[in-house]
Amino acid sequence: MSEWRLWLRVGVILVLSVGLATLGSAQTPAPPDLTQFSLEDLMNVEVTSVSKKQQKIAKTGAAIFVITQEDIRRSGATNIPDLLRMVPGVDVARIDHSTWAVSIRGFNGVYANKVLVLIDGRSVYHPAYSGVLWYAQDVPLEDLERIEVIRGPGGTVWGANAMNGVINIITKSAQETRGGLIVGGGGSDAQAEGLIQYGGTAGQNGDYRVYGRYSNLGKSDAATLAQPADSKRLEEAGFRSDWNLSPRDLLTVQGEIRLVDGGQTVTGAIAQAVPAVGTFSEPVADDDGNLLARWTHTFVNGSDISLQAYFDQSHASASVGDDWSSIGDLDFQNHLSAGSRNDVVWGLSYRVNANRFGSSDVVTLNPLRRTDSLYGTFVQDEITLTKALSLTLGSKFEHNDYTGFEIEPSAQLVWTPSARHTIWASAAKAIRQPSNIDEGLQAVSSVVALPQGLIGLVTLSGNPNTKVEQLHDYEAGYRAQLNRRLSLDVTGFVSFYQNLETLEPEAPYFAIAPGFPHYVIPFIYDYKAHAFSYGAEAFANWNVTDRWRISPSLTMLDLSVTRDPSSQDSTIEQLPGYSPRRSFQVRSFINLRRSLEWDQTIGYTGPLAVENIPGYVRLDTRVGWRLGEFWEFSVVGQNLLAPRHAEFPNIDFVDHMQDQRSAFGKITWRF
């Protein structure tokens, strides 16, 4: 294990040194003077366009929200979960200083398992945990092109686990990050971060960037968390290169390595001669290395094919055990116009995940080593019915090693009566695929004192008869550019869930081994609950004046979970209590002067029924000042209204903290 970390560390230094060397030796490209370009050249220049994207989004038959570069820069956020707070329908709760629970439309938790997260097409949904380790998924925010958040099922295109939504994190192409970039920041949360990046051209048709990043999140103070140990330190190095092999062929190669070290405070079973439950601090670490290549070819007739391959190796460690995961993924897509009315996308995908678990005294997996494959195909056809009406039909057909073949169909109807109004409706089925833990977990989750000095071990085991959790979802939405200053987006949905995972008690028994007499109180996973939810999300963009924009948003969710008559899970029906039923937010962006920005976010998040977490109001503010083309300074204050507030109950063992008032300053220098 130490060897593996050593190699990663060597890699970090190596990439940085390469960056340094190229910076030193690179032929400094002259500033391109576009007036020297011929007409033909100009026509081949690629631009970063906003209008095209908006046009496309305006005609999407799904609830989509795009976090733009402007949103990112002006949010003052220092990490991706904080950025996601702006998206209606997305529920973000900070659990401790460096642990987040992020979900869409309910079912939140540390390992919220119904949302798929992709970074440049690479899934970061952890196949063993069934969830996303957010502290280990970090991308320099300066390199983000945009984040697309799709609420509602995305299984037809993205496959399993894109159940309640998809978060698609997209980084800029290397062409967009030419030049040097240095970012440094620090703040009252004992946090510090630094980014060094250089981007240049390689040959006639290639661009690259290399970067190194360091970030440190300090511990909570003792008033917010007993025995705080929740710091994280992140070291990261990465690169991206984009090559125009020909005017019709684009090759992207990118990779990164990341080391995260830190700790967390946990309440759970402690393995000792006689086990007990206690609160303790433990070290945690996550190392990740990945490499991705994508080739896209565009044909003369406008259709295109793309082939993507990636390899991802990660190692997560905590006192409950160590997990090593190696993922290989291959993805082919073809987009073609069949006749004047059909626009077809189809694809093939294959993924293999080799997982190894290092047991601890309280958690083991059966089997410890396991290799799973997932393969499938999808096809989707957008049919133009009339000039204003289009119908999209499609389905994913996917095979997993736990439950066999699964189908995830969807249909979307989009009506655009004029260029500025879109009305859409959709129906879809999506699934969550079981993981290694659902099938093979063996854990001691708690220890209870019984009469006559006996102790009882509460155990949790996986169930070999796994089932997929299913969602049938129906939505409708309206999107409008009401005038040149005001746009509006409203979505309503009803969702029906089946086969939700429950914890069923089994008959207790007496045991002597290992070492001491005790009762075992066993629980086993099963799939004996269903749920119904309905809700709405709305947001608007209003350019009040040329210098002032406000973006209000609203989230409403009513979720009820019901166990089947055969279920004895006494807690499953409390699941809705982990997500707020109402929340709203207003973001304001003011350009005081051309170079001076003042931005604020005020938001209300409703109470959580579990543990009676009260609702709270958050106020964040940011002042940004640009000095010439190259320097930018910003100061951010977060949670200004109260010294601290709780955002989430204690579950999944990790002790929650109270999010603190904090301030953060940042300097950005481009050269």
Partner: protein, 182 residues
């Protein structure tokens, strides 16, 4: 810690390199490219005799209403010459002063009054350039179209002829030609 040390070293080297004035790293913004097209149009369009009083009068590019270019256009044509003519960039609230313009840009932000603006300069020797989908249909001469990440041109030669503009075949050959519907 090794990494921290190498970061500091890296920073130091970068600071030294600053003196060598590296190129600004910004990618091409959509409007940088569109500005470059506006500059290029002046090379490939001939205005009728009498348009310029003097052989050294500047070529005037006007932007009506909302200006999506920022200062990009001014910066780009600053000091540039075509023949003996420099460039001038003017911003106009409407087309009342448009008589002095050779190139008139009407951005997407003006979609509401595009038709009215175009009607008010109909037949004048002005190369009207726009970026809305219906710009040429409404009587404009040149329209920018986005094709994926690239900027393409759409030209309605008949609209140019009404203003007695001669658009070179080179420019026409690179554009999508729109015939006015009868």
């Amino acid at each position: 810690m090794n990494l921290t040390l190498s970061l500091i070293l890296f920073l130091g080297t970068a600071l030294q390199l600053r003196a060598q004035a590296l190129a600004p790293g910004s990618p091409f913004d959509e409007y940088q490219v569109k500005a470059a097209f506006l500059y290029n149009f002046a090379k490939f369009v001939e205005w009728p005799l009498g348009t310029f009083a003097n052989s050294s009068d500047p070529i005037v590019i006007c932007i009506v209403g909302q200006n999506p270019f920022g200062s990009t256009l001014e910066d780009m044509v600053q000091g540039k010459k075509i023949g003996d003519r420099f460039f001038a960039v003017r911003r106009l609230p409407d087309t009342q002063q448009a008589g002095k313009c050779q190139i008139l840009f009407i951005g997407a932000g003006e979609w509401k009054r595009t038709r009215a603006l175009l009607d008010s300069v109909k037949g004048a020797a002005i190369l009207t350039v726009g970026e809305t989908d219906d710009f040429t249909a409404l009587g404009g001469v040149v329209s920018f179209k986005l094709d994926g990440p690239r900027v393409r041109l759409q030209i309605a030669p008949e609209a140019g002829e009404r203003g007695r503009l001669r658009i070179s075949s080179k420019l026409l050959s690179l554009a999508e030609i729109v015939k006015r519907q009868p």
